[in-house]
C-alpha cells in the first residue's frame, strides 16, 4: 500500500494559471473570429438581464413618483399641450397621406414596387454598456419577440443603431456613434451619398470621403440611404454641423450631430423592415 500523503497538493498555481490563461485566450479568440459561441452566448446572456433590470429600478421609481405625485393643474396643462401637439401632427399626417398616395402612383408609373409601411415594435432601454469605449445599449426585447441581429433601432427623432447581440429576452444594440459603426446616408436636400461613421462621441458623426467639391452645407439633414441593405430608407440620421474644406486635403471634414437623443431616449422602436428593404433594393 502506498503511503498516504500528509500534505495533499494539487497542481502548482503557476501551471494552473498557465492552463486557465491559455484556455481563456483561446475562448476569446474563438469568440472574436468565429460564430461558434454565439448560441451559448445567446442563452447564457440572459444572466445579464436581472442586473440591468436592477440598475433600471431607480429610474423606474423616479418615473412612478413623477407619474403619481403630480398636481391636477400640471396634468391639465400637459393634456392641453399634448392635444395641440396631436393636432399639429394630425395635420402633417393628412398631408402625408396624400403624398404617400401620390408617391405610390408615381412608383407604379415607374414600374417599381410600392414602399410598404414598416412594422415596429416598441421597446424600452434597460441598460448601457459599462465599457466607455463602446456605445452599446441593452433593450428589453429579444428573439422571443422576433427581434433579429441587424435590426434597426429608432427613437422619436431619428435612427439610433442596430441590434448586434440577442438573447431570448433582451438584445444589445450598437449605437451609430460607436467607433466601429458606419452607415450609408444621403443628404436629404440633393441626394448626395456618403458614409457616416461614429467616432466614439455621442454627439458627433463623421462623414467619410466627402470630396471637397461636393455640395454639402451646414444644416443639411442626412437620411439613411438604405444602400447598406441594413437600415430602411429615409429615416433621419443626423444634421450637418460643420464643413471644413482644407485646400491641402482631398476630402472635406464634415461633422454631423445625430438626430436621435442617444443618451436620453428610453422608449425606442425596433423596425421590421425586410419588405421595405427589398422594395428599396429593387427600385434602385
Amino acid at each position: 500500500m502506498a503511503i498516504k500523503p500528509l500534505f495533499t497538493k494539487g497542481p502548482s498555481p503557476a501551471s494552473r494559471a498557465g492552463v486557465l490563461l491559455a484556455a481563456m485566450l483561446a475562448l476569446l479568440l474563438i469568440n472574436r473570429y468565429t460564430p461558434w459561441l454565439d448560441p451559448l452566448r445567446a442563452q447564457a446572456g440572459q444572466l445579464a438581464v436581472p442586473f440591468y433590470w436592477l440598475t433600471h429600478v431607480p429610474s423606474r421609481i423616479g418615473e412612478w413618483l413623477e407619474g403619481n405625485a403630480r398636481s391636477r393643474d400640471e396634468l391639465e396643462n400637459e393634456n392641453a399641450a399634448l392635444q395641440s401637439e396631436m393636432l399639429v401632427l394630425k395635420r402633417k399626417v393628412q398631408q402625408m397621406a396624400s403624398l404617400a398616395a401620390e408617391n405610390v402612383r408615381l412608383r407604379q408609373l415607374l414600374n417599381s414596387a410600392d414602399l410598404i409601411e414598416d412594422r415596429v415594435l416598441v421597446a424600452e432601454l434597460i441598460g448601457v454598456s459599462p465599457d466607455p469605449q463602446s456605445h452599446v445599449v441593452v433593450v428589453n426585447k429579444g428573439s422571443n419577440d422576433g427581434v433579429y441581429v441587424g435590426q434597426p433601432l429608432l427613437d422619436a427623432h431619428g435612427l439610433m443603431g442596430q441590434v448586434i447581440d440577442l438573447t431570448p429576452i433582451s438584445s444589445r444594440v450598437m449605437l451609430i456613434t460607436d467607433p466601429t459603426h458606419a452607415l450609408p446616408v444621403q443628404v436629404n436636400r440633393n441626394g448626395v451619398r456618403a458614409i457616416a461613421e461614429g467616432i466614439g462621441d455621442l454627439y458627433t458623426l463623421k462623414l467619410r470621403h466627402v470630396s471637397s467639391t461636393v455640395d454639402i452645407r451646414v444644416g443639411d439633414v442626412l437620411v439613411s440611404s438604405g444602400l447598406g441593405q441594413r437600415f430602411p430608407v429615409g429615416y433621419p440620421v443626423a444634421e450637418v454641423v460643420s464643413v471644413t474644406m482644407s485646400p491641402g486635403k482631398p476630402f472635406a471634414d464634415v461633422l454631423a450631430k445625430p438626430r436621435a437623443q442617444l443618451n436620453r431616449s428610453r422608449h425606442v422602436l425596433l423596425v421590421f423592415d425586410n419588405e421595405a428593404l427589398d422594395a428599396g433594393a429593387e427600385s434602385q
Binding site: 485566450l25 459561441l37 444572466l47 459599462p130 466607455p132 469605449q133 463602446s134
Partner: protein, 161 residues
Amino acid sequence: MQAPKANNLWVIGILLLAALLLAVWPMGAWSQYRPAWVVLICVYWILALPYRVGLGALCCVGLVQDLVAGSLLGYHAMSLVLIGYVCLLSYQRLRNYAPWQQAGWLFILVGMHQVIGNWVNSLSGHEYRGLGFLWPAFTSALCWPLFYKLQQAIRRRYRVT
C-alpha cells in the same frame, strides 16, 4: 494541519453580486472613471483567504462578468486569472504593506486589467484613444484603503474564513 472549516462563504458571493451590479451601473460620462469593483473584491479576498479563493473560481467570476458586461467571452476571466496569480505569489508580502503601498500595487494590478481590456478592444476594432483607459486603475487605487477597511469589517463581522 487541517485547514479551518469553511464558514460564511456566501458573504463573498453577495459582495461579488454587488460588485457586478456596480460594474454595469449606468454612469453616463463618468463611466470612464469607474473603479474596477470586481477586481477589488477579488484581490481583497484572495489576500484574506488565499486557500479559499482559487484561480478556477476567479475564472468563473470573470466569465460571469463577461456575460453581464457583454464583452468578448474570456476578457475579464483572463485578466482576473492573471491578477489572481500575481496575488497568490505575493499575498504574504502584500498583507504587510502600508495602505498606500497596497494602493500603489492595486494601481498596477488594475492597470494590467485595463491594458488587457484595451488589447481586447483593439482586437474588436476600436482604435487606441490615449491613456484615458488607465483612469479606472487610478480611481481603484484611490478607493483601496477605504475599501480594504470596509471589507475587513465585513469579514470580521460575519467571520468569513
